[in-house]
Each structure stands twice: as C-alpha cells, then as structure tokens.
Amino acid sequence: MDKNISSKQVLNDMISRHYAEALEAKKSGELVAWATSIVPQELLETMDIKVVYPENHAAVLGARKDAPVFLQNAENNGYSNDLCSYARVNIGYANLKESAAGNIPMPDFIFCCNNICNTVIKWYENLARELRIPMILIDTPFNHTFDVPEHSVKYIREQFNHAIGQLEQITGKKFDHDRLKEVMKISTETARLWKKATALAAAQPSPFNGFDLFNYMAVIVCMRGKQEGLDLFKFWAEELQEKIDCGEGPWKDQPEKYRVMWDGIACWPHLADTSKILRKNGINLITSTYPDSWTIVYDSDDLDAMARAYSSNYANRNLAYGTGNIVQIVKDFSLDGIIYHSNRSCKLMDFRQYEVQRQVHEQTGVASVIFDGDQTDPGAFSLAQYETRIQALMEMMEQRRNERLSRR
C-alpha cells in the first residue's frame, strides 16, 4: 500500500469502491445479495456474489442526514415507528431506491442470519416478498448456555449445506469447497488483524481518535473475506503502532483524560455532536463491544467451525457472557467509564442493558451512564440531555481519580 496516504483515506476509498462496484455489477447483470451484518459471507464470497449490507447503508444514510425521508416512507406504508430504524430506512429505500447520500443496487436475493436479532427475519421476509426474490435464512438459536451447544452447531451446519444448495440453484454454478477454505482463511486472518488493531487502543494514551472504531468497522462488516480488507487492517495496525511508539495520543491539541467504552451502536445522525461533547470533556472513546463482534475466527476450516463462529456473536450469547465480556474490556483497556446507548431501535440490545450495567458496576466499580438515543432516527435524541449525562460521567470519573491520587 502507498505509505503517503493514510489508512483512513484507503478506508474511505475502499468503502466508496465497495458501493460503486456493487452498482456496476448489477448494471452488467451480475447477481447482488442483501445481507445482515454478521452473515456467513464466506459462502457468498466463494460464489463470487456481490453483497451489500443494508445496515451499513442505513448507517451511511443516517450519518449523512438523509435517513428521515426513508423512515417517513416506511411509516407511510404502514410500518410502525417502533420498528428498528435500520429496518425502516431500508424498507423505505427499497421502495424509493434513490438517495443523494449514496445508493445500493437492488438485490436478486436476500441472505439473512438472525445471530444479531430476530427483527431481521421479518424485515427480510417482507423484502423478499415485496421484491419477489428468494431468501436464504440461517437460523442461529440463542445460546442460553455459555458456549454454543453441539446440537446448535449441527443444526446450523445443516442449514449451511442447505444454503449452499440454494446458492447453486440461484447462480446455476457449482459450489467450490476448496475455494471456501481459502476464503475462510482470509476472513480469519482479517478478523485477527481487526482484533489486533483495535486492541492497540489499550495503550496509554490510546492512539485512537474517538469514533475511529465506528468508521473502520464498515470494512470488517462489508469486506471481511477480501484480501483488501486484510491489507487495510494490517496497515491501520502499523499506523497505530507508530503513533504508540511516538507516544502520540488521540488528539494533537489536547490530552486523553478519560478512557471509555461505548456500548451499542453509534447515533449516526448526531455523530459529530456526540463525539464533540466527549472531546470537550477530555473523554476518549477507545473501544466498544464491536471489536469482538466481528472477531470471527475459525478453529478449523470446516462448516462446524463456521457454525460455531457465527453463533458466538455476543448478541446471541447469554447474560453471563455479555457481562463477562464487558468486565474483561474494562480491565484490558484500563477504562475509566462506560457509556451505554439506550437505543430506541434495538430492543435486543436494550433488553438486558440495565442488568449488564448493574453487574458490571458491581464487578468493576467503574463509572457509567445511560443515555437515550437512536442509531438512525434523529428525532429520538436530545443533545442537552446527552451533554448533561456525559458531563456528569466526567465529573464522576474526575472525582474517583482525585480520590485515587489523594490516597497515594
């Protein structure tokens, strides 16, 4: 990679190219799939199928402040305002098909995995029905046990086999199992490098610049099985390591005073404001539960390993795992605080949030705060309320730090 440009520029180019190529492919008659954010994309990559991710696209429209027309359109067509705003944006987009903030090609089929939530099933079923296209569903039962039980692995593996048959039918091509092994190798490596890069935020000060994580995430979502995704994370990790070696923190003009993690999705329409207020208070957002969500690593190169990996997404695992995961993050990254985004859209994430907060507080004593917002619906957020909560968090962290210093 050209070292005169930054990894962020490479990232931005890659994302624009990802969307441009998908649009191009569609025009030249290639098949396009719409898929949920943590699907076994390896199956699609093996078949050389172009994939776009409606959640990522909805986030882009949200960040570029173009979500409201699509939200409104979905609601006009009878979808409830209580439905996840990613779903509403995408359902509106499937209808309007045009956004000044960026377009995606319409799908030839739908590829859905419910390891992130069950909203996606009905959302995707409706798309498939309205657009009259096939849908492939991978059902990953919630893990009530700490680890993925063997019967789930078997159940999911059989679905992979079924999905492969469906893909062969849709494409009219034979599935190449050797190619799948190669793709799995690349995605494991990409995931490892993603984890490595994001883990560098443990340095003090962290080389991350606040919301970087949310930007780079686009590649681990959209390009996990591609060599260029792998290369980008390698480059990013090197860049971060250089910053660490020079002792560089997140900002040139101010030091990192407090280190926090963000639980949940960003508030895309208010990204600038939410990050500005953190910075104003000297708070650096260095990690979240995301680095682990996409650390999809295979312990072998077969479908069982893939079943285990995709079922292991933290949203699909039990409370003990969810809490333990955050407790470990608090320790590994020497956090001063946690910001919990109570996201109006995401029932799944909110469902156990209060309890996770309570248990994490009990186990770590780390300061935390919950604020109300939404990932793409700009109306479900109040800046003044957010600011008061963040400032109160800063005051709690400051007071704890002063106490620690005075005890020395």
């Binding site: 300061a367 919950i370 109300d372 309320q385 600011e387 008061t388 109160a392 709690m396």
Partner: protein, 256 residues
C-alpha cells in the same frame, strides 16, 4: 464569599455562602433558563447578603441552563451539585431524589457523599414537575395548592397515561364524567411517584433517602413517593436551593 447558581427549566436559584459555610443570601425566582430569572435571583441574593458582585470570589453555575449562562467561573452538572448539597445538609444521605421542572433523577451517594451512580428519566416529561404543572392548570389551582387540594381526596383515581399530553386529555375526561378535583390531584401525585419510584428501584434505594428540588415542597408527592418506595423520605429545609448550595460549596473549594 462565593456564589452558587442553579438555573432550571422553570426556576432560577442563587445562594451566597462564606468560608464558614453560612448562607448569607438566597433567592428563588419562578422563571428559568432563557429568561431574566437567573439575573434576578443573583441580584436578590446579593441584596440579601448586603454585598456587591465584586465581593464574590468565585461562582459556579449548575442546572439545565448552565451552558448558556456565561457570567459564572465554572459550570458543573446538577447531578453532582444536588448530591453535594444534599450530603452537606444531611450527612447520612445515601440516595437523593430530585424532581425538577423537566427531569427527575435519583442519585446514589457513597459514604463520603460523592456520586456513585445515578439514573434520570427518559426524555419525556412523565414523572417531572412539568407533569404536575399541567395537572394543576387543568384543575384550575396553583402548583403550590395542588398538595392541599389532594389532602381532601376521598377516592383513589388512577391516571394511566404516562405521556403528559395524553394524561391531560385523560384527566379532562375524568373530570367531565364527574371525578372530584381532589381525587384527581392525588392521582397526579401518585402518577409522578410511580415513575420516580421505578427509576429509584432500578438504581436501588439505600437509606437515608433525601428529596431535593421544588417538587419536594409538595407534601402530597412526598407522601405518595414514601408509600411507593416503602421508605421514609427526608425533605430538607428549602429543598429548591439544594443544587445552588452544592454549586456554592464547589465554588468555595475552587476559590481556595
């Protein structure tokens, strides 16, 4: 001498204290952020203390209007200031309930009176002073008289809508179908108490529980809340100025 100012959404408070922690001047005005209220409160507190503005060594502003008030030396959130003020006035306090004009908060204090954790109402006026204001208006009484009105309640009335706008129409229809004003007033108190108790139970209500803020002057709400949480609530003298006292205590610390 130092100054603490608390600018809420519907009232402004100012307190002046000296190094011996004596309150030399205090004032409450019933207009809040974006009005002349804050200035009037500061001037009235100065007048009561018999001093001029130049004699104030340091000032701290808190409350919803803190961001837009540029005459103070420092701004601190109302969470931290209410905690400080309450812990100062009631050293045994471990939980502070503050119901303000547009928010309700429950704060847990550690044994040194510092904020350990807190919860605030979700962005909605349910369980806040604004809800009571709307109810008082429909009942055609002043917010100050809502409590005494409820003392004569004879029958329990449930206001089931938490949304203030919907609760308004619910209450209007109750009144038009013959419900007594006294009963509705008590129902309104209960509605606020239920919401706030919900917040408190989520956080855990460690005794002693202290209530601050203007709504603490409403005996009906305090009684309803005590019933909901099954605990006694201590209401400090002049509960409206607790946030301003907390701000003044921080100002004193920062002045030295």
């Amino acid at each position: 001498m130092v100054l603490g100012i608390d600018i809420g959404s519907s009232s402004s408070k100012a307190v002046i204290i000296n190094a011996q922690l004596e309150i030399l001047g205090k004032a409450v005005f019933n207009t809040g952020a974006g009005t002349q209220g804050p200035e009037k409160a500061v001037l009235a507190a100065l007048r009561e203390a018999g001093i001029s503005r130049e004699e104030i060594k340091f000032s701290v502003v808190t409350g919803y209007g803190r961001m837009t008030y540029d005459k103070a030396d420092k701004q601190i959130t109302e969470i931290t200031c209410h905690a400080r003020g309450a812990a100062h006035m009631v050293p045994s306090a471990r939980t502070v309930i503050d119901i303000g004009g547009q928010d309700a908060k429950v704060i847990r204090l550690d044994k040194d009176g510092k904020v350990e954790n807190f919860v605030m109402n979700e962005k909605c006026a349910a369980g806040t002073g604004r809800f009571l204001e709307v109810m008082a208006r429909i009942l055609d009484c002043s917010i100050g008289n809502l409590s005494s009105l409820s003392e004569n309640a004879s029958e329990e009335i449930i206001i089931s809508n938490t949304c203030t706008v919907f609760a308004e129409s619910e209450v209007i229809s109750q009144l038009s179908s013959g419900a007594k004003r006294e009963n509705v007033a008590q129902g309104a108190h209960k509605s606020v108490a239920k919401r706030v108790a919900g917040l408190g139970n989520r956080l855990g209500l460690t005794p002693d529980v202290v209530m601050t803020g203007g709504v603490a002057l409403n005996k009906g709400v305090v009684a309803a809340l005590e019933k909901e949480i099954g605990q006694k609530i201590t209401v400090v003298e002049n509960p409206q100025i607790v946030g301003a006292i907390g701000a003044a205590l921080y100002a004193l610390e920062m002045a030295s």
